[in-house]
């Protein structure tokens, strides 16, 4: 008998395992994405689903798929089924919900909701929402006043690491999904409200940088109020902090994530033992031995075992002249790369630099310094090089807007050169006139900026981006020119 029972139990167990496998295959919580956005996401989710899905990709009859919802026109009536991921605070029978299904994210703005029902909208809850589609500053949402009903089912969308998608067009396909960003650098201190006109408890805004792009992130106070961990963590952020962030990919004229988690993992200005701060470096005497840690911003062309580097840390910028470097290593000196440089301080025609022959090693870390706008310093009767604030930005990436081209571009400073040589051109702003240079070792004849400058005409109004090189005064090395329309 026991034998028979054992055989029967074994049979049942085997059968149940077989059916469980079939169910799992059918209801895989992370099926192959169908939209371009999710196809582009290659990083491993930072957090596995905490709850087994209940057929989250299956829609009831008459319910739109995510693709159909996104493709609908504004003001079209929409009927969707999705899973609550989070929500803002309930108020006056309204609640804004961050939701998702396996295909994408949703934002349900000020959905009609009783306080009692609001309490039921815990993460994972499946709801059917009926309302109208809207777009607000690029954010696709179900407009205010939508109604909903709670369904059976539960699904928590995985958090997707979209760090590498920041700045790309594809990131819009992750709109409203839970996302993560790793290794971003804080480039502006948090402000209460976007213009710092608020007070504790208001939304927190802060800027972070990845490579050469800057983004604005928000702690939405209705989502995470002033007593929450993330609100306090972001309040405490300092410029230069390197952070890992999580949140929902809200949209406001571009990606404007609503952050729910912030973790500081380091600081750009942290220096190893025995390494100078920027202030130490600037205070060193010419010919003193210097050891600095900095981040490559740009390089001139490698030649004969040497490379000239424009570098920065949080406090300032460096010019490392003809640093000893193999061709192989030169290829690794991409913008953002952290390096430790050992050499001697020099000053050449006013330019403070690390002298020829410095050595370096690669370090972990990445940082791109944001450009500083010099435009406000261009006032009449000013020699721009003598403005202390400008001199302090030596070698830094700067922008100047609204410059008027006052002389035809010339190969070499007096026109004696030929195509491929440095290009010099005169500009003025508010009566301040000076020369700009396209340094051909930095941006050669085949680059866009070189060609753009070749085509400048007197009278053109331009915005420029440049490294504030010094030769007997400010002589910026231009890397970008935009002619104003």
């Amino acid at each position: 008998m026991k034998k028979l029972v054992s055989i029967l139990l074994t049979f049942v167990l085997a059968f149940s395992v077989f059916t469980a496998c079939g169910k799992k295959e059918k209801n895989d919580p992370t099926p192959a994405p169908t939209t371009p956005a999710t196809e582009a996401v290659t990083a491993t989710p930072t957090e596995a689903p905490t709850t087994a899905p209940d057929a989250p990709d299956v829609k009831s009859e008459g319910v739109m798929t995510h693709a159909q919802y996104v493709a609908a026109a504004d003001e079209d009536e929409v009927l969707i089924e999705c899973y609550v991921q989070d929500h803002q605070s309930w108020w006056d029978n309204k609640i804004s919900v961050y939701a998702a299904d396996t295909e994408g994210g949703y934002f349900l703005y000020n959905m009609t909701c009783s306080e009692e029902d609001a309490a039921k909208l815990v993460p994972g809850t499946k709801i059917r929402v009926k309302g109208y589609r809207a777009t607000w500053a690029g954010e696709i949402e179900v407009a205010e006043g939508a109604t909903f009903e709670i369904l059976d089912g539960n699904y928590i969308a995985p958090v997707k690491d979209v760090t590498n998608m920041l700045g790309s067009e594809d990131i819009i396909y992750c709109q409203n999904l839970p996302v993560a960003f790793n290794g971003l650098t804080v480039v502006s201190a948090p402000t209460y409200k976007w213009d710092n006109s608020g007070a504790p408890g208001d939304d927190l805004y802060f800027k972070v940088a990845l490579d050469n792009q800057v983004f604005t992130f928000t702690v939405e106070s209705y989502l995470r109020g002033k007593d929450t961990e993330v609100y306090k963590a972001v309040e405490a952020l300092k410029v230069g902090d390197i952070v890992n962030l999580e949140g929902f990919l809200y949209w406001y004229n571009g990606a404007n994530p609503h952050i729910t988690k912030a973790t500081v993992i380091g600081n750009v200005d942290a220096k190893s033992d025995g390494v100078m701060t920027f202030a130490d470096y600037m205070g060193a005497e010419v010919d003193d031995e210097v050891t600095i840690e900095c981040f490559v911003q740009d390089t001139q062309s490698w030649w004969d075992g040497k490379i000239t580097v424009y570098a920065a840390d949080l406090s300032g910028a460096y010019f490392i002249y003809n640093m000893t470097c193999s061709e192989e290593d030169a290829a690794r000196l991409v913008p953002g790369t952290k390096i430790r440089v050992k050499g001697y301080k020099a000053m050449w025609a006013g330019e403070i630099e690390v002298a020829e022959g410095a050595t370096f090693e690669f370090l972990e870390g990445s940082y791109i310094a944001p450009a500083v706008d010099l435009t406000p310093y261009f006032t009449g009767d000013t020699i721009i090089s003598q403005v202390p604030e400008v001199a302090a930005l030596m070698n830094h990436l700067v922008t100047v807007k609204g410059l008027k081209v006052t002389g035809d571009p010339m190969y070499k400073y007096d026109g004696s050169g030929t195509r491929g040589d440095d290009i010099y051109f005169r500009v003025s702003l508010n009566g301040v006139s000076f020369s700009l240079v396209v340094e051909s070792y930095l941006r050669g004849a085949d680059t866009d900026v070189y060609k753009a400058v070749e085509n400048l005409k007197q009278g053109d109004i331009i915005d420029v981006e440049a490294y504030l090189y010094w030769y007997n005064g400010a002589q910026p090395h231009v890397i970008n020119v935009t002619v104003q329309q």
């Binding site: 010419v286 010919d287 031995e289 050449w348 020699i383 004696s416 050169g417 030929t418 007997n472 005064g473």
Partner: protein, 527 residues
């Protein structure tokens, strides 16, 4: 039998010809054509150097236009450079692809390296001597100089190994530009020929500062009393003045010697006090001179337009320029009664091409660059001097010199003073031996000065051990151990072609003698 002998001779001849054919792709030496074909179109390229000076570029363009008017079948394409090093690199690159320019501004040092290939640069002795198209030739359409009218010393500088491979184009030397006001303030006079001791003494005297770090002599916090632009020239000139070894024409590198060490030690205290610096360490001497932050600036006479309060090419902001009197003197000397100064400046060479007419067209253009109009116009752009006595003695040039100081542009006094300094010291100029690798030896000479100066500033100890190591490192860095020494005292191994020919001749003669003996023996037997 005669047929047999003929066959043997023919065989020997063919053997010699075959060995001659080996490597037949080599460029062949140039021969002057009997006539220049004016019905054929020639397009030649001219790679020129200018001192970042648009006037010089315009002079090139004008010369080309005037030349093309005389020779409508020759079109000259100009490509300008602002430094010799880039021209040199470009030429080296183009030798490999056989795309060298036709005419090129160059230094003899560079030609020696170009000539590591076979017949890359045209040896121009035959061209120079050609009665029709040579210097002063009867069929030239312009009034070019004869060989005798080229300053012999400058022409000699273009003699490399076995002949002339270039013509001089412009010549300059180095000059000492002095802020007389500051020297006077320090209580010194300026000698006609300053010595090194004088320069060091005045420079050290200028280093007194007040408690705030302000230099008493100029009232500024910045002062480098003595700045040398080209430390290559500095070391080379010092060695020459001391009659010390540097290198020889066979390619022996003699730079690393005890006199060099002695010179380096003499620099140490002034590098330490920072009364001395270099272009590589501190930037252009003219920048400091014009700002009243330098007393003695040594730069080329071809840099004279950058020197002085009224310099037309000053590089610093006008509000930083200080008014002072600029005095021009020869570079410092160890023996002022027997001064030496370097001769430098661009020369012209032409590259070998398959079409001999194209080479002749290039030669005509090269000669045209030595005509008075071009020579005088170009020399006036800086403190250069024309390379021909024909131009130097012309009324136009003499009038130019006489108008010294008439204005601050064409007749800028410092520039003309620099030119006059050179004109009166041509016999005191010298050049260094030229061989493949001589450019690297020159760089090494400068590196020694730079390294010692930097090291002292960086608080390192410069002693015998340091210098020995620096000699070793510099030689390695500049690959001086790879320079091929040509020992002119022995003839070296016989060329392969010659060896084969000689062996063939011996063989033929042996056979002929054998036949002769055999026939005599046979006749004796028959008799």
């Amino acid at each position: 039998m005669k047929r047999f002998i003929t066959l043997l001779l023919l065989l020997a001849l063919m053997t010699a010809l075959l060995t001659g054919c080996h490597g037949g792709k080599k460029r062949v030496a140039f021969r002057v054509p009997m006539e220049f074909d004016e019905s054929k179109q020639y397009e030649i390229s001219f790679w020129a150097k200018n001192d970042t000076n648009i006037t010089q570029v315009n002079i090139y363009k004008q010369a080309i236009a005037d030349f093309e008017a005389l020779y409508p079948n020759i079109h000259v394409n100009l490509k300008t450079y602002t430094d010799y090093a880039t021209i040199y690199q470009d030429v080296i690159t183009n030798i490999a692809t056989d795309t060298t320019p036709n005419v090129c501004i160059t230094y003899p040092d560079h030609i020696a390296t170009y000539q590591k290939g076979s017949n890359v640069v045209v040896q121009i002795d035959a061209l120079m001597a050609d009665p029709n198209y040579g210097l002063g030739g009867s069929k030239l359409k312009f009034d070019g100089p004869t060989e005798e009218e080229i300053v012999p010393k400058f022409l000699q500088e273009c003699f490399i190994g076995d002949g002339h491979y270039a013509l001089p184009y412009m010549r300059s030397t180095e000059a000492l530009y002095i802020n007389k006001d500051l020297v006077t303030k320090l209580g010194y006079d300026i000698p006609d020929v300053p010595t090194w001791d004088y320069i060091w003494e005045v420079s050290e005297a200028a280093m007194k500062q007040d408690a705030d770090g302000v230099f008493l002599v100029n009232g500024q916090t910045t002062l480098i009393p003595f700045i040398y632009k080209s430390t290559d020239n500095m070391m080379i000139s010092m060695l020459k003045q001391k009659d010390a070894p540097y290198s020889d024409s066979e390619g022996h590198v003699l730079l690393f010697n005890d006199t060099t060490k002695e010179i380096l030690y003499s620099i140490v205290p002034h590098a330490k006090s920072r009364s001395f610096s270099t272009f590589k360490i501190s930037s252009y001497p003219g920048n400091y001179l014009n700002a009243g932050q330098c007393i003695f600036a040594i730069d080329s006479t071809a840099g004279a337009t950058w020197m002085g309060s009224n310099a037309p090419n000053s590089d610093i902001h006008s509000e930083n320029i200080v008014q002072f009197e600029t005095v021009v003197r020869p570079i410092p000397q160890y023996d002022p009664s027997n001064p030496y100064m370097i001769s430098q400046g661009p020369s012209l060479c032409i590259f070998t091409k398959e079409d001999e007419g194209e080479v002749l067209a290039s030669w005509l253009f090269m000669q045209y660059m030595l005509t008075n109009d071009v020579q005088i116009a170009y020399s006036q752009t800086e403190g250069y001097i024309p390379v021909t006595s024909k131009a130097q003695n012309s009324d136009v040039y003499q009038e130019y010199l006489s108008l010294e100081g008439a204005d601050n542009n064409l007749h800028y006094d410092v520039k003309i003073k620099a030119a006059k300094l050179f004109l009166s010291n041509i016999d005191r100029t010298f050049v260094t031996p030229v061989f493949a690798g001589s450019a690297s030896v020159r760089e090494a000479a400068g590196e020694l000065v730079e390294n010692v100066t930097r090291s002292v500033r960086r608080k390192k100890t410069v002693d015998d051990e340091f210098i020995a190591q620096m000699y070793e490192d510099t030689a390695a860095l500049k690959h001086l151990d790879q320079i091929t020494v040509t020992d002119t005292k022995s003839f070296g191994p016989l060329p392969k072609t010659s060896a084969v020919l000689l062996v063939s001749l011996v063989f033929v003669w042996t056979v002929l003698i054998g036949i002769f003996i055999f026939r005599r023996w046979k006749a004796t037997q028959e008799g």
